[in-house]
């Protein structure tokens, strides 16, 4: 696969023994975020950091504010208090498409694919921000437009290979089974070659085999491209296995933040979350 996705890191000391990118400095930091909807508090005074190349999991019971947190990170919700610092710059109030253009891609809890389009076209939309040919060039499929379409198609085909969805590339996604839709959605996010990838419950509703596939994809993405991954997941086994660090939310507050082992040992977490169901 092309190495254009590799960001800053280079040289052999940037990699760990098993070939992963070494976890670097803070790439994104949320500080004292509070968010409410018409008086209902969704997030209260949340702070945590995301470091380059790491896999960070956000866990917590339903309604803990996990999805809201992702929505704040990619600019869909605007918190009343606190700030988001991305690559050392405090972010101004912005529209969601700006986050995408700044290298933050995401998938959704309830699949948000473009149902009328084929799997290939869905993945191609992920690269739309990189395509610059003008209207006339597109209208007559000339020069730059033709070149762009072919080049980006090649890139997307690599993603299709990687996600093993070659057979359905021309099928409208509305007709695909759930597991494949989840993969296409991941593909669409990957197509943007993001620095940070936000995954909202990528394994929800999957059977064991599908979950294993998805875990493999996530780890491979992190390993091959060094993509920083922030994911929300309910399956504790998965979270503890694949993530470098875990942030625990409950009722819009942060309970804990640390390595899987630290979190597992945290008494608050055990009381509020693990103690209940698991």
């Amino acid at each position: 696969m092309s190495s254009t996705a590799v960001s800053a890191a280079s040289g052999s000391d940037a990699f760990t023994a098993d070939g992963r990118h070494k976890i670097g400095g803070v790439i994104l930091s949320v500080q004292n975020i509070s968010l409410s909807f018409g008086g209902v508090r969704a997030l209260t005074n949340i702070s945590f950091d995301v470091r380059q190349h790491e896999i960070l999991a956000i866990i917590g019971p339903n309604g803990a504010g996990k999805s809201s947190m992702l929505n704040v990170i990619n600019g869909f919700y605007h918190p009343q208090e606190g700030k988001v610092i991305h690559k050392g710059q405090e972010r101004k109030r912005m529209r969601p498409f700006m986050a995408a253009r700044a290298g933050i891609a995401r998938t959704f809890q309830n699949i948000a694919l473009f149902k009328g389009m084929s799997a290939l076209d869905n993945i191609m939309t992920g690269r739309n921000t990189m395509m610059k040919s003008g209207v006339l060039a597109q209208a007559f499929y000339l020069g730059r437009a033709r070149k762009e379409e072919t080049e980006h198609r090649e890139f997307c085909e690599k993603i299709i290979d990687f996600l093993e969805i070659e057979a359905v590339r021309k099928t409208p996604v509305g007709r695909l089974p759930y597991g494949l839709q989840k993969r296409v959605e991941l593909g669409r996010a990957l197509a943007a070659q993001p620095e940070i990838l936000l995954l909202d419950e990528p394994m929800a509703g999957m059977n064991l085999e599908e979950k294993e596939d998805m875990c493999r994809f996530i780890l491979d993405v992190n390993k091959e491209f060094g993509t920083t991954i922030v994911l929300i997941e309910h399956d504790m086994g998965v979270v503890m296995d694949i993530s470098d660090r875990v942030v625990v939310l409950d009722y819009g507050r942060k309970l804990a933040d640390g390595t899987p082992d630290e979190v597992r040992a945290n008494q608050d977490v055990i009381d509020a979350y693990l103690g209940g169901g698991h």
Partner: protein
Amino acid sequence: MLYREAGQFKTSYAADQQIFPILQDRVGIAVIAAIALGVLPLVATEYLTTTILIPFLVMSIAAIGLNILTGYAGQLSLGTGGFMATGAFAAYKLSTAFPDLNIVFVFLGSGVITAFVGVLFGIPSLRIKGFYLAVATLAAQFFLLWLFNKVPWFTNYSSSGVISAPPRAIFGDIMVTGSSAHYTAKYLFLLVFVGFLALAAKNLTRCHLGRAWMAIRDMDIAAEIIGIKPLQTKLSAFAISSFYCGIAGAAWAFIYTGSVEPLAFSIEISFKVLFMVIIGGLGSILGSFLGAGFMVLLPVILTNAPHILGLNIPVDMISHLEYMIFGALIIFFLIVEPHGLARLWQIGKEKLRLWPFPY
């Protein structure tokens, strides 16, 4: 068996990205083009050309335009008539102000002007959605017609407010507008225009702009989150859609009727074009043609059918029956195939791949 793509291997993505990747489609298009360019001009009578072929081509342009906006970008619009009127009046002003300007550029220029107007009325689409937007586009429909009716400058101070197409020629002396233009010349001129416009529309919808439109249509929030700018995308759809509608209006005034008053582009036209798009198939360029063909042919057939069948029905009864049958057929088609004639065609193709074997 007839329609089988087995054995046609694509060895590069460029080959797979052709506009018609399947051989049979390419042959089909070539045959249609040959008939339209070579056979129809020779055999079509004046009646067939002026009352069926020309309006069909004009309405196809409008249907492609609306299909871009509604079918691809998902913005429901009832302002088509107003945009067509803009095109007609822009073409009139351009051709009278610059008598030496080639008619091709008059048409393109009227499209560009209409595109600007379309963008203006597209701005509310950022906040207003669905049926609210549809009704809001009626503001464009009524306001534009009123404007052309009210401001005498648009009609060069004609006392009646009616514009009529000045005679214009292409290639030196082949008249394509005005009373001395031969109907076959008008038809061929329009046909070539439509060919280019349809090709452009097809290309646009399969490039990144088209994907952005469809993304906005299918799920606007997700589209925005993956980096598609909603305002620019919606406005580009309004602009390009209006460009097409503007050219359709110019062609209506200059080639089809020869002279129009603003009322000719009333709300009924807007509905008619919307019907074409829906009956033909939302999000399909082919569907735009099928829908336009259906909507142009149906009234002609309904009016003439009793005569052909040898029935002697008074004209008012024919008209009433026409209304009823028209309404009933629309409902019938929506029930049988809500995705339009284009989908029927697609299903037909899938059947043909296997035919005559059941599996």
